[in-house]
């Protein structure tokens, strides 16, 4: 008999014996529960920082039984032997995940608790949402193991910051077994307040960024290019309109070439370098230099039998002719190549050749 068991009364020992006989079922539940949650998160496209599960250890259960064993008639009354924990990035996601958990499992509302709502206006502390659940037979059942649908388990949902606080609190206070002096308890609770504020701010910033993206996307879609600053988001939205598609098609037609699609996002820094501050600036650049860019390309590949091109060729050549027509020299072209493809010993000679070529073309 283990030392912790000796401290239990007969009732406690009987419950511990039930735990041992049910242990294989607990292990199966521990494996199954996160699988169902993970599948549901994936379907709902909710990202979390961690999804973990555990079976309460014998010694931990014995400790619980020693403290309040009389409260339980049998092992099935203890609802947290199997526990899963979902740790989210944002506080708003806790409620989203709670809704998913309600969909997947049968929730025992009487024993579920929202610790977030237990604090008064003046207090801060442990913040987590705990649901006690069962696996619905419609979700999963095994005729050889009906207990899988009877045993309740706990699902805890909290943010990463709430998780950090709970762990720190557990480590410094609860786990040590000694009462935390009031002044330190006050510090821990003040920290909980700070983290709650940080959680709210993260959620608020995310909502604002999403609003900004939606706004940018709709402005670009409606053609209000001058109202949109050039950024990664706005350029991405602009590219969905395929602004360089017609020039690419024209270029491809020169040699009946196959077009290899690549991302044009690396040209964002090049466009900024060319002085574009808004999507309207990019659009004007496109309209102004497309014709010369096309003529340059005809001269470059028209005499060859090259029949494959990159979809970035149109924008690449627009940027090149823009630099040269504006009077830029080898240095400016080298910088352009470097911003798109990185430094290369070839950049200078390529720049020299292109300047001579375009100057001739302009005449």
């Amino acid at each position: 008999m283990q030392a912790f068991e000796k401290e239990l009364d007969l009732h406690g020992r009987a419950i511990l014996e039930e735990y041992r006989s049910l242990y294989p079922v607990y292990e199966r539940l521990r494996e199954l529960v996160p699988q169902f949650i993970s599948r549901s998160l994936k379907e709902a496209r909710v990202l979390v920082t961690a999804l973990e599960s555990r079976v309460k250890t014998e010694s931990s259960l014995a400790g619980k039984l020693a403290l309040k064993g009389g409260k339980y008639a049998g092992i099935l009354d203890i609802t947290d032997i199997v526990g899963a924990r979902v740790i989210t990035f944002y506080s708003a996601d806790v409620d989203k995940i709670a809704a998913l958990i309600q969909k997947i499992f049968e929730v025992d509302w009487e024993n579920s608790v929202d610790k977030r709502k237990q604090h008064s206006l003046e207090s801060f502390g442990y913040m987590s949402l705990h649901y006690v659940c069962r696996i619905r037979p419609s979700l999963y059942s095994d005729p050889d193991c009906p207990e899988l649908n009877n045993i309740r388990f706990e699902v805890q949902m909290r943010t990463a910051l709430q998780h950090v606080w709970a762990n720190m609190y557990h480590d410094t206070g609860y786990k040590s077994g000694l009462e935390v002096p009031p002044e330190h308890l006050r510090t821990l609770n003040r920290l909980a307040g700070v983290l709650e504020l940080a959680d709210d701010e993260f959620s608020r910033v995310r909502a604002q960024i999403n609003d900004y993206r939606r706004k940018v996307h709709s402005l670009v879609r409606d053609g209000n290019f001058d109202e949109v600053s050039l950024s990664g988001d706005s350029f991405k939205s602009y590219l969905t309109l395929d602004p360089f598609g017609s020039l690419t098609e024209k270029i491809a037609a020169i040699n009946q070439a196959e077009v290899q699609n690549v991302s044009l996002m690396p040209y964002l820094s090049a466009l900024r370098m060319l002085g574009c501050q808004t999507i309207g600036d990019v659009e004007r650049l496109r309209l102004k230099y497309s014709d010369l860019a096309y003529r340059m390309t005809v001269h470059q590949i028209g005499q060859t039998d090259l029949d494959i091109i990159s979809s970035s060729l149109a924008l690449q050549n627009i940027c090149i002719v823009c630099v040269v027509v504006r009077g830029g020299g080898v240095y400016e072209l080298e910088k352009l190549f470097e911003s798109v493809n990185g430094p290369s010993p070839y950049n200078a000679t390529r720049a020299e050749a292109l300047i001579a070529f375009i100057d001739k073309l302009k005449k």
Binding site: A257, Q260, V262, P266, T297, Q300, I301, T304, D305, L306, D307, I308, I309, S310, S311, S312, L313, Q316, F337, V340, N341, G342, S344, P345, Y346, T349, R350
Partner: protein, 100 residues
């Protein structure tokens, strides 16, 4: 087109020599087949002896680059002659393949 591949672990030193065109592209594709296997390959292609590449050659380099990307590796081409580099530049392939 001659190709020499020296492999140590996941690092492949490749030396290309000659002209890559429609007459030898099929053979070249077979020659680079070993580079299409294995995790996180690091491929360095010395192109100092390569005198020309046709569209067929570009397609094979592209296929290799995609395969390397998919396996979490890297591929660079180096010591290109100006003529070969021009083919990559005027087709926009300099934006796809890392050339140092």
């Amino acid at each position: 087109m001659n190709i020499t591949i020296n492999t140590v672990g996941n690092h492949h030193d490749v030396v290309l020599d000659g002209r890559l065109d429609t007459t030898n592209a099929d053979q070249f594709q077979k020659d680079v087949a070993p580079l299409m296997e294995g995790d996180a390959p690091e491929i360095e292609m010395d192109c100092s002896g390569m005198t020309y590449t046709s569209s067929q050659g570009l397609r094979i380099f592209l296929m290799l680059q995609k395969s390397v990307n998919a396996r979490g590796g890297h591929m660079v081409m180096k010591n290109m002659s100006p003529q070969v580099k021009e083919v990559f530049d005027i087709t926009g392939f300099s934006n796809i393949i890392k050339i140092v």
